[in-house]
């Protein structure tokens, strides 16, 4: 699936470059000197166990956690110090892992919040219905009433609303049935084929990650422990670094 998509020349995708990125909370650095590139149209999986700094790295890229060292550039321009609102305006979409939905808002309002105005709402809704048709019939339902898998799909759908050029996705496959994982993998592949978006996906589910990604990297104690392309050695190498 990923192979088919890779062939697409995708000038529309964002180019993300991390150089020695260090960040954390207060005096504690959680991410230490991470250098990584997500080329236009590329999908990179960031693997690693809990507490290794994966989520913090995503939040640092998005400007939610302050960068304490290194540089972050999107399409060659530094984005360090920009607010999340600015990054979203540059076309960065974010699918967070925890508490990622407004449970007491309708599905429609959850999706609306991804756009800064309602002008392009119908068009954007049509786009995400293409990926996840079940949303169309349930727009007025509260997000909290969805099942776990449906909630994850809504989180992804919302990140796709603004037709992002760069997607940051945090453990979207966590705790899901294989069938739902399939649908999500398909949606990501289709999205890249259609829009050429680049993606950085944080994952603990190795099977899913290696299925959708072009390259992988393992984050351990805030540092890149190993990285490589998705090939026949990838699984065993990544597993070795994950310590299982």
């Amino acid at each position: 699936m990923a192979d088919a998509a890779r062939k697409v020349e995708a000038p529309a995708g964002g180019d993300l470059v991390l150089e020695g990125v260090t960040s954390g909370y207060g005096a504690v650095s959680v991410v230490k000197g991470v250098s990584l590139r997500v080329a236009p149209g590329e999908i990179v999986a960031l693997l690693g166990k809990n507490g290794m700094g994966k989520t913090t790295l995503l939040k640092t890229i998005l400007g939610m956690t302050p960068l304490s060292g290194g540089a972050i550039a999107v399409d060659g321009a530094s984005v360090a110090g920009l607010s999340p609102a600015k990054l979203v305006a540059l076309g960065v979409g974010y699918a967070p892992q925890e508490l990622a939905l407004f449970q007491d808002l309708s599905i429609r309002d959850n999706l609306r919040l991804a756009l800064s105005s309602d002008k392009r709402l119908p068009e954007a809704l049509e786009r995400v219905f293409g990926h996840f048709p079940f949303l169309a019939d349930r727009l007025s339902q509260h997000a909290g009433t969805l099942s776990g898998g449906e909630q994850k799909m809504l989180i992804l759908a919302r990140a796709l609303m603004l037709k992002p050029r760069l997607l940051l996705i945090d453990e979207i496959s966590e705790g899901l049935q294989p069938s739902v994982v399939d649908r999500i993998a398909t949606a990501l592949a289709h999205e890249r084929a259609a829009s050429g978006a680049s993606m950085l996906i944080v994952e603990q589910n190795l099977d899913f990650a290696l299925r959708v990604a072009d390259r992988w990297a393992v984050l351990k104690l805030g540092e890149i422990d190993d990285e490589g392309g998705v090939d026949e050695t990838a699984r065993s190498r990544a597993l070795a670094h994950l310590g299982v």
Binding site: K59, L62, M64, S83, P84, A85, L87, V88, A89, Y94, P96, L99, A100, L101, F102, Q103, D104, L105, D109, R112, L113, A114, S116, S117, D118, R158
Partner: protein
Amino acid sequence: MLLVLDILTTAAILFVVSIGLLAVFGVLKIINFAHGAWLTIGAYCAVVAAKLGLNPWAALPLAFVVGGALGGLTELFIIRPLYRRPLDAILATWGLGIVIGQLITLGFGRDVQMTPNLVSGTVEIFGADYSAYRLATLGAAIVIGVAFALTIGGTRLGLSARAVIMNETLARGLGIDTARVRLFTFMMGAGLAALAGVLLTPLTSVDPNMGVGWLIGAFMLVMVADASFLALGVACLVFGAAQVLVSTFVSPILGSIAIAVLAALVLRVSPKGFSRA
């Protein structure tokens, strides 16, 4: 029957006075202890409007605009540095209230000011005469409540504000400009407080410290409502009723502390107040 009218109109007045504080607390998670000062600012807008010879009703939009504009400055220079120190924000806004009170005293003197009645006379209702203005406040509360509900429920700013109330981190991650949402919310809260100040003028004397007395009641109601608009309505009705009943049947002095005491007890039993019910 008069008792019921008293309860309804008391609740309406409490609602009008508290709603601006609720909006600010909900979105900014900051308790604006200068809220009383904004009621005072509103009331003095009515004084100024009268001096300029304007129609008394013109004081309402004037107060909303003046209150909102001053609120914007306050958010930028006083509230914004204190988001991480909510208890300090209470103190800084209280200090701001003192400053505003003194500035008004310097400008207008400390004497009680007279303002024209917005609605005068009485209305015969259920066979008794009742203050027309108190009935008008009931209408005002409904109008403000509906307008507020429409803003929150129907506009993008309202949606963003609700998102910030529910989960600010997530809202930020989705690219919502939370700083702007806070600024507008504070301006609106301040504007509503000033509006309430105008509506209070026929009911209380207008002097530089008139707002302080209302502040505590509004604060306790907002604590109990815990950022929920509907819970505020319920709290105003329940505590308004308690205040009227205690004042009528026990003693007016105890009636005046009924809201504070009952709200404190409700919070002790259920820290989220009425918002869960």
